[in-house]
Amino acid sequence: MRNQLVLLGCFAAFVGCSTPPANGRFVQLALPDRASFGPVAELLDVRCGSLDCHGTVARNLRLFGSAGLRWSANDRPLVPLCDTQTEVDQDYESVVGLEPEVLDAVVAAGGANAERLTVVRKARGTEAHKGGKIWAAGDSSDTCLTSWLASSASASACADGLQSVLLNGFSNPLIQCAAQP
């Protein structure tokens, strides 16, 4: 029995320490829409990318934008007011690179079962998340994200999601940023 346990321990250590093959590559064939990502980036920036949350380089999901960490050393939070194109591009890479295989499967399925993605589950609070539940399944913010995964982001859902939480609702200037193409 003891020998079996030792063997089992060795096997577990071997499996645990093994690495993927050096030539192992996964090519994402199905990628979410880049063109309509701007409003999603704005939503993620405001709701997730504050400076003490995902707006810091210490996070795996690293978000840049006007409401948090800026990409350019010359920019400041809210100056300029809206996300720059570089920041939107960086956020796209951050989100797409989190779980490439799962994202590929979700996008290929037209966004079906989007909760397979950690980013969806954490925002909904159905997976452990230090920032807690950010939004609920099916609400405007969730629809903003899942519509983007399905085909093209619903800019109106993204704006609705933002106005529901931001000070002064639709008068908040960040809403105008979300409405930009």
């Binding site: 504050s50 949350c53 960490l69 400041r76 230090k130 939480v165």
Partner: protein, 174 residues
């Protein structure tokens, strides 16, 4: 066997107690300013919730705390400023006032908000500064709730600078 158990227990406790990131952040705060006693007027502009976190041996927990200054270019406190906090469930804001150091704070018994929080600061002369973004984190991302965890000097790509009610030219902060 008892010795082994004691060693394991010690190692576990040491792991739980020692947090080098927290320790470094605390060290970076430095000592108390000369002539200022611990209390409501101490350490303006510092991330209050770093110490006021309710941990055993630490000072009383705050849920929200910070310092308001008059302008971005100087460290003159905005004495008597109003800080209106609107949490996720509120229809009316919870209001705090800054003291002679520009400090304000709320304990859990006074205010235990549901995040995210929206903030409006009104200066002693009626100047109004709206925080366009949100305080997120659900109170779990320490020291979330402390203004200075994001609003620190110098301003840069990762900080808007200290909280103020007017710009140096008299305009409203973004």
């Amino acid at each position: 066997m008892t010795l082994a158990r004691a060693m394991v227990l010690s190692a576990t406790l040491a792991t739980l107690v020692c947090d080098p990131v927290y320790d470094d952040a605390l060290t970076a705060l430095g000592p108390e300013a000369p002539g200022v006693r611990r209390g409501p007027l101490h350490r303006p502009g510092q991330p209050c919730l770093l110490c006021h976190d309710g941990a055993i041996g630490d000072p009383q927990r705050f849920t929200v705390a910070g310092t308001v200054y008059e302008t971005p270019g100087a460290l003159s406190p905005a004495v008597g400023a109003t800080v209106a906090l609107l949490d996720a469930n509120a229809v009316a804001p919870f209001t705090l006032f800054t003291n002679n150091a520009g400090n304000f704070y709320a304990t859990p018994s006074q205010y235990d908000p549901t995040f995210p929080i929206r903030v409006t600061v009104t200066g002693p002369n009626g100047q109004k500064a709206l925080m366009q973004t949100l305080i997120e984190g659900n109170g779990q991302v320490a020291p979330n709730g402390a203004c200075a965890s994001c609003h620190f000097d110098p301003s840069g790509r990762n900080s808007p600078g200290h909280v103020c009610v007017t710009l140096d030219d008299g305009g409203a902060p973004p």
